[in-house]
Symmetry: C2
Subunit: 287 residues, 2 copies
């Protein structure tokens, strides 16, 4: 009886949430890294973006998202949004009984492993950069001599969603945002927003071949693999894994834009009214 | 007794709502056009932007905003957001007992009055343009021979909020978005988003001096003036009018960005939890 229950437990999906589409880069990375895992995705497209919103609201939104994923039996929760990780991941980890993985710690670890000069740049939304979360995570690993240079890039998300990933305008915006990081000669840049991997070729061109770009999506998938293995939570079923998508705005638009991120992986997308999950969650919250 | 009540009624504030900051251009226009009126503003900064959201969600958000303004005694409601006007103004007008003024009809009227060639361009968010609301409003006034050319400009709002209103990047983006309108030789362009008036000088430069830009904010204020006068709802008190601001996200950020729109007019800004207004509103909704 116990072992059967354990088998069922470990066969539950990984829950992933993001403010919208960006977290799909994490889904892609999970599919590469832990290909036998099922994934349940929630994109809060009715309230996207989180990057310009206050910490208190981002925390509320994140709790509602986590509660929704738990209600659908997630065995582990990936906070696949840098802003939500910055403002809410630690709190969720303390409140929930399933493991919670954010995108910031894995990216910071990889950046510190990759740097030679100890000068690390971070790109992110206004919310992520303003939170100082990367700064803290990198410094904690890097020690005193290292330096972190944080640069908010509020136009990158709208540019990616407009599909202008290799457009002259985007190049011009990137040159402007990255100039301060070139001036201080960083050798590693953390892409601190899940949209940014789609700009990797362009960002690499602006920074030159000697700068390493750290994709937090990949590093996060690696962290998830480690945790599943440590806790014996790898999916054991030999049926194909399932990929299920929920959004708080129009499923139709999500399917369209989502294809840019994960291609045909997006099949059925369902709508969920996320506002309703706030009250349940308050029971889990610490006072 | 009746006349005292009438005096109190007409002294109530004009309620204005928008998804965020853009509606402040309408507040500015109201201050010019009806300087004795008090204004109660709600910016839905927790859920901004509306332009990329589905019609159903924009309708729900708009109802909640209107219900909040009514709960604070608004005598007239201005839907100071083109996307919300496109998806929800007609419905609100049918449901509510106070007058409802959107930003689309006034802009369309002014554009038709200004055109010589009958070729009119409209710039807006994906939601506004996708709704076809301007197309319909202009055609209804213009008759068969006229043509409306609609152009979605999703990057303009983030560019304005980044403060890049006269930046080379914005010029380059404008050139790209406006190229199709130049090719068909429009002589009037409706700025179909309340953020866009801040780009007027740049847009005028791209289009040249012979093209008339129609600012829906100004036209809307003119329409409000007419309705107040027609219904005998002009404020009669000779005390200075009040300007009160509510937002669903951080009051602090609203004060900062808001100054770009209306300067020192923004004094106290309060937070309101707008999710709570959904249920009350359902009683007003038609089935």
């Amino acid at each position: 009886m116990t072992s059967m229950r354990a088998a069922v437990e470990r066969d539950r999906p990984i829950g992933v949430f993001d403010s919208g589409f960006g977290g799909l880069t994490v889904v892609n990375a999970l599919r590469q890294r832990v290909p036998n895992e099922s994934v349940l995705y929630f994109g809060d497209t009715a309230r996207v973006p989180y990057g310009s919103k206050s910490p208190a609201n981002v925390r509320r939104f994140s709790r509602e998202a986590a509660q929704f994923l738990l209600s659908r039996d997630a065995k582990l929760i990936v906070v696949a949004c840098n802003t939500a990780t910055a403002h809410a991941a630690a709190e969720l980890a303390a409140e929930l009984t399933v493991p919670v993985v954010g995108v910031i710690e894995p990216g910071a670890t990889a950046a510190v492993a990759a740097t030679r000069s100890g000068r690390i740049g971070v790109l992110g939304t206004a919310g992520t950069i303003g939170s100082g979360a990367y700064d803290l995570a990198v410094r904690r690993r890097l020690g005193e001599p290292g330096r972190v240079y944080a640069q908010p890039c509020p136009l990158f998300v709208p540019l990616v969603e407009e599909g202008w990933t290799d457009h002259a305008v985007t190049m011009r915006v990137a040159e402007e945002y990255l100039r301060p990081l070139k001036e201080v000669d960083v050798d590693v840049i953390i892409l601190g927003c899940t949209h940014y991997p789609l700009l990797s070729p362009l960002l690499q061109e602006v920074m030159g071949p000697d700068v390493t770009l750290v994709d937090s999506a990949e590093e996060t998938a690696r962290a998830v693999e480690g945790i599943l293995s440590e806790l014996g939570l790898e999916r054991s079923a030999d049926t194909p894994p399932s990929f299920t998508f929920f959004v708080s705005d129009s499923p139709h638009r999500f399917r369209e834009v989502g294809r840019r991120f994960v291609g045909d992986l997006i099949g059925a997308v369902s709508h969920v009214d996320i506002d309703g999950f706030g009250q349940h969650m308050q029971r889990l919250a610490s006072p």
